[in-house]
Structure formats: structure tokens, C-alpha cells
Symmetry: C2
Subunit: 131 residues, 2 copies
């Protein structure tokens, strides 16, 4: 990427990635965790909508590029190590490809079993793509 | 670790780690992000207080073991990929070794500069250890 877009105020790991926690700016619900390379972060900061790097698909993607469920950046925070971001957003639709508002829709019960406790906000079968 | 403590309902990465987002259960403030190996997660679930795995020190540690700033688990959630945890806690003292309530005490201004916007809750010079 061009030197002008380098981001020395963040620390990327040995894979060139930084962890990003995405939080709803209004409700403070944690929506998802994803990874950014330097280019994804530069695009996020420049465009004001979240872009990530998919480790499995090995490519940059814009959140909502297929589903329309974009995330508009409200606030960017970094942690004391500068290797993790907290991005507070305005979420269109739902963050999770399963249709839930948040990817963290499963809660552990005291006995170790799991219950679904999130809010489903769209039908994934009716959305063009999962990302 | 003993077979009885294996945790097949979570997905650990190729380094044997899972990402854990720690959120204040009362205020919903995101306090920190850390990593757990299987043993750290098993201890967290069993004891009800957060244990992590330090990638730099290559060892398991209990949050607050030196500082007393323990995190009592209120709720454990997992994401749709089962490779990230959201742990809602009751935080004693502050989560950050710098004395701030949250590790995410720096906020990016629109011009790209950074401002401190977190709440300082203890003086790190007066705390025995940073962890």
C-alpha cells in the first residue's frame, strides 16, 4: 500500500493483522470481532464504514458488501498496547450472517449447556450474501 | 490437561488460543481483549474469575493475581464461529495496568490525532504488580 496510507500508530501482529471489536454505539452491545490488515483499517478510517480482512478467504472485504448490512463508524478507540481496536458503529440490519443482531447470541448456562439469547433481526435466506 | 477438562464446544486457533473480549456487565464498557488457552478457559469457567494466557510471557495468569483487580465472571457468550468469547464481568479496581478503567482509553479524533478519554481509577505506582 502507498506509504502515505501507512498507519504507524497501530501495532499489527506477525500476520499483519489487528483485532477489531465492533460495538453498537447506541446500545453498547458487542456485535462481532474481526481482523483488519493495514489496508482494511486504512479504508475503514477513510470511508467511515468497516472493512475487514478475512483470514480464511485471504482477502479484504467490506462488511455489508453483499448483505447491505454496513457498519458506519462512530468512534475508533485503541487499547494500551495499540494492538486491538474498539470500533463503535451504527449497524444497519444485523451484524451476524445467521440473522442475529450480534454474533454473540449464545450464552452459557451454569450447567455448561448453551442457550440462544440474542435477537434475530433478519432472515439469512432472504439476504443475497452472508458478508 | 486432563481429558475431563477438554472444552470441545470452543474453537482454539492454530496456536491453541481463543480471543476473549471482556465487558463490564454493569456499564457494558469494553474493558480489554486477551487470549485464553484451553487451560485458562477451563480455570475461568471453574473458578468464576478470569484467567488468561500471555503470549509474550508464554504462561497462564490470573487477572488480578498481583494487583488484586480480579474479574468475576457474570456471563459467558460465544460467537457464531465459536472462536471468540464475550465475557461479561464485575471488575474490581480497573482493568488496565495503566490505572484506567478500560484498556481502550484512547479515542481517535476526526483529524487523526488521539485523545485520552477514559476514566483513571487507580494509581499504577501504588499497585504491587501490573497484572
Amino acid at each position: 500500500m502507498p506509504e502515505s496510507e501507512r498507519l504507524p500508530e497501530f501495532r499489527f501482529d506477525d500476520r499483519g493483522l489487528i483485532t477489531a471489536v465492533i460495538q453498537d454505539a447506541e446500545t453498547s452491545e458487542v456485535l462481532m470481532v474481526a481482523w483488519m490488515n493495514e489496508e482494511a483499517l486504512a479504508r475503514t478510517l477513510k470511508s467511515g464504514t468497516c472493512h475487514f480482512y478475512s483470514r480464511s478467504r485471504k482477502r479484504l472485504w467490506k462488511k455489508g458488501e453483499e448483505s447491505g448490512h454496513v457498519q458506519t463508524v462512530v468512534e475508533v478507540r485503541r487499547d494500551c498496547d495499540r494492538d486491538t481496536l474498539l470500533i463503535r458503529v451504527r449497524q444497519t440490519g444485523g451484524a451476524c450472517h445467521t440473522g442475529y443482531e450480534s454474533c454473540f447470541f449464545e450464552r452459557r448456562r451454569p450447567d455448561g449447556s448453551w442457550e440462544t439469547s440474542g435477537r434475530k433481526v433478519f432472515d439469512p435466506a432472504r439476504v443475497d450474501g452472508n458478508s
